[in-house]
């Protein structure tokens, strides 16, 4: 909790559920970070996770006015390959200039609070092996390797 309070002092942006008006800011931030413009993807994400927020879906943003400095998306998933219900984080972005100031930690803690309120006690994620920045971020939050392995193959 002390970490969250320190992070909030360092970065006062309010964490709140995304609204449709946040979409341009989310799309712009994602393009800034990834170099890829994908508006239809983010509209679809908002339809699924932002427009119909239930107690198991979370699309949270941080920013002042229409400037979005960070966002995180997650949901509670259950029984995939026998896994009991758990929180899944599948997107997190923080504007490069705003990093190392605790905003990512506040977003992470906010979505974890949502997962706890939904009744789950575990959170998972998946990320690119060579994405050291995000990998180090999740590790710094206390995440460690879980019991599942990600596999893939080419479809000829």
């Amino acid at each position: 909790m002390a970490n969250a309070q320190r992070s909030e002092r360092n970065h006062p942006d309010r964490i709140r559920p995304a609204t449709e008006a946040d979409l341009p800011g989310v799309i712009a931030l994602d393009e800034e970070v990834t170099g890829l413009l994908k508006p239809s993807y983010w509209r679809d994400m908002f339809e699924r996770y932002g427009a119909r927020p239930g107690e198991s879906r979370f699309f949270l943003v941080a920013g002042a006015g229409h400037r979005i400095d960070g966002f995180i998306i997650g949901e509670v998933r259950a029984w995939e390959f026998g896994s009991p219900p758990c929180g899944w984080i599948f997107a997190v972005q923080v504007r490069a200039q705003q990093r190392v100031r605790g905003l990512g930690t506040r977003l992470f803690e906010a979505v974890c609070d949502g997962f706890r309120a939904a009744g789950v006690d575990r959170v998972r994620t998946m990320l690119a092996r060579d994405n050291t920045v995000i990998h180090a971020f999740f590790r710094s939050q206390g995440m460690i390797a879980g019991p599942f392995i990600q596999l893939e193959m080419h479809l000829d």
């Binding site: 964490i15 559920p17 949270l60 309120a117 180090a136 460690i144």
Partner: protein, 154 residues
Amino acid sequence: MRLQKATVFALYAVLELAADPERQLTAVEIADKYGISAHHLAKVLRDLGRAGMVDAVRGVGGGYRFAGNPKRLTLMDVIRIFEDIGADAAEPLPRAADPDIAEGLRFVLDELRGQAVATLRSISLSTMLKLVGRRPWVAGEPATPARRPARLAG
């Protein structure tokens, strides 16, 4: 994955010193705590000093002090001073009569090393010290403090 003795000693020393950057310890004090050779550790500490990870404090009451950013330095940064386990390092295998089998084995072993390298690159000294504090290996999983859910704004 088996790390060389010098690498493990270096990780012990760097983590011990990074736990309290204001504190200075001699090679003997660190060696005694970990039950390792002070003579070998002294050589390791000199290498760490040349790499800029520790400062040698000379004179009476001297020793070594951590010199770096524990949130930036990773386990891999320490390891690579002493050995090359990078993703580009080819897996050494004895010469094989069947090159396809050898290539296949190398492919699988490289997959394992790739996972290990990604893990070591992702764990800063600060994260490692937090992990030690949580002791997840005792319960077999990370211990997360129970917190009352906060209401989301909006």
